[in-house]
């Protein structure tokens, strides 16, 4: 158990805390583990609220500026809540050449969700990501864990509608 008091946060439920503590304790003695800790804590909570970053920095005995600096540098980490489904559109060159920009515009219009943001009903988050290395399927969209290839602006809404 960590000696640091757990802050109250609406998005961190009581059963998440032991998992967060387990992550921090497992990496306390490992130099350079902060990225791993942030990734695993984000997997638990869904994102990294500032209160959690402070908690992690105290647990790892690092200045909170260091932890915040790392969290804000890497695109994997988010400090704002996500929607129920995260749509990731590959903005690699192959996908771009094959028309992912049009797909992006279509999704933004249909669900009123800006690139990098979340729709008001928290149904979708829309992210532009770097090349997923699946260029053979370009343009590529990933929703949660599901990957779709050959996505076009006229097909994409049919693919997304089942995600409630």
């Amino acid at each position: 158990m960590s000696a640091v008091a757990q802050p109250h946060h609406p998005d961190i439920t009581p059963e998440m805390w032991p998992r967060i503590d387990a992550v921090i304790n497992a990496h306390k003695q490992v130099a350079g583990a902060v990225i791993t800790v942030l990734r695993e804590c984000q997997n638990v909570v869904g994102y990294l609220p500032v209160e959690l970053l402070d908690y992690i920095s105290r647990g790892l005995n690092l200045p909170s500026s260091d932890v915040y600096g790392v969290a804000s540098f890497y695109s994997l980490f988010s400090m704002v809540p996500k929607g129920r489904h995260t749509i990731r559109l590959c903005l690699g060159t192959a996908c771009y050449v094959k028309g992912i920009k049009e797909v992006m515009t279509r999704i933004e219009n249909q669900y009123q969700v800006p690139e990098g943001g979340t729709s008001e009903d928290r149904r979708f988050s829309l992210e532009a990501v770097r090349c997923l290395g699946a260029c053979g399927l370009a343009p590529v969209m990933v929703v949660g864990e599901d990957t779709y290839g050959d996505v076009t602006s006229d097909k994409v809404i049919d693919l997304l509608d089942p995600y409630e």
């Binding site: 192959a94 771009y96 997923l132």
Partner: protein, 615 residues
Amino acid sequence: MGRMTVAELERIKTEHAERMAFTDKTYLLLCGGTGCHATGSLKVKDALLDALEQAELGATVDVIETGCNGFCAMGPILVVHPGDIFYQKLKVKDMAEVVQSHLVEGKPVERLLYKDPAAKKRIPVQSDIPFFAHQMPRALRNKGIIDPEQIDDYIARDGYRGAARALLELGPDDIIEEMKISGMRGRGGAGFPTGMKWAFAKASPSDLKYVLCNADEGDPGAFMDRSILEADPHAVLEGMVIAAKAIDAHKGYIYARTEYPLAIKRLDLAIRQATEYGLLGEDIFGSGFGFEIEIYQGAGAFVCGEETALMRSIEGRRGMPRPRPPFPAHKGLWEKPTILNNVETFANVPQIVRKGGAWYASVGTDTSKGTKVFAISGDVNNIGLVEVPMGTSLRSIIYDIGGGIPKKRKFKAVQLGGPSGGCVPEAHLDTPVDFEAIAKVGAIMGSGGVIVMDENTCMVDMARFFMDFIQEESCGKCTPCREGTRRQLQILEKICNGDGEPGDIDTLEALSDTIRETALCGLGQTGPNPVLSTLRYFRDEFEAHIHEKRCPAKRCVSLLSFEVDTEKCTKCGACYRACPVDAVEWKKKELARIDLEKCIQCMTCFDKCRFDAIY
């Protein structure tokens, strides 16, 4: 299992000889790379297993899930041995037919075979398909053949024999000498001679040294490293063991992109298997030499592909480059001598040590030896991974292997080397792939992404696209890169939006010079390349945007009017059927008309119109 010996490697190889030659059973090699997984290969595999059970063929047929086959656009892919019969784009419902017709009755299913787009005929045998026939697999020699999750498969293909030679027969200097003879240059982009890099690190005295593998494949359009890790992870581990012996390191890290979950899973399994066999850990082959490897997952930052930034990231800091010297060979990870090589480089090392540097150098050009893996994508028929000898022409890669441009469109340019690279036009397509020759035409070899663009691609928009990438991925440490690329992006956006002014091109060029000369790291110094190379070959497109407010390729939305050319319209209604917001008015035998009030400028109608009638 205890310590591995050469005799034991030999025994495993003999035991698996029939399986590797496909002589004892029928083998169904199903591609299990990321691409095929996404198109449903896992469900196809279940259906295949069901069908085999129904036909009671379980005892004489083996299904093997291989790593990436390489012909990614055709997935899910199944290759049947003996016979080397290639099936493509399989669906769950096809599998019963494949089993019944091919395996029971001996007749391959015609409709599922590869169809050559040029000759319009089916080609049943994999090695006859032009995409495969022109290749020379070395780094990819095991792809689509072995099960990447079985270490015995790798050993049966002479795996870990290079490590055995390095640890038992050669000294560090012999290994480095062999690497120098091979002429191998780093496959990550810059092309630094691998043997020389290792020699520097060997010469740096230190209690601790590190071997790092760069699997942070960030260049958009490059996926060879992902594919190698998914198809042949042990080759990379073996290469790292050999490098470690050469420089006397005992700890290695593989810095892998978090976007590649399957590659990380297979690597992790491979490390556990190798450790269990005593091929990693202490006293490998009883040589007294020990080495262990850990995977370090990145968190999404392109700049971490730069060596000093990558090392900072492993140290748990913001991944920002630092000035060199000191070079990592003297002061790298945790300030200790470190070598960093790319996945493809390491995958070549075991064969170089096993077969000798001279064997490796037997193909290639004067300054670029061996083979190179390219990832071809974009507007080309055969998308996938190809490995060819250095010196092969770009034209051969795009037309002989890539099968040319689809939809009868014209070739416009090929983008090489990712965001730091450049676009090569038709006139230079006969350039051979060679580090120096490619640099001469204004691109770079880079990690090997080859993105083909047809006539519908706007080169100003492409420059904007790459600059957007570079600007966003700039770490912000040095001013030329942080501010300069942002300013360039602003100008390019202005030009694409139709607000370009005379003088913009001059400003772009002046900024490019400053950034090139003053940025801190490779990302910044090569950042202006997309602008410079498009300006070099497609200046007229920039001028059309700026002076005539016209986008010749019709991609820049602000410069389009979304109207129908009544001369060209054939009244076919394709645009009407495709429009997602019913903005196109059309009746049979009448001209189409676009209601600009309803139009959301999504470009769907532009893509659907085959007569170039919308402008």
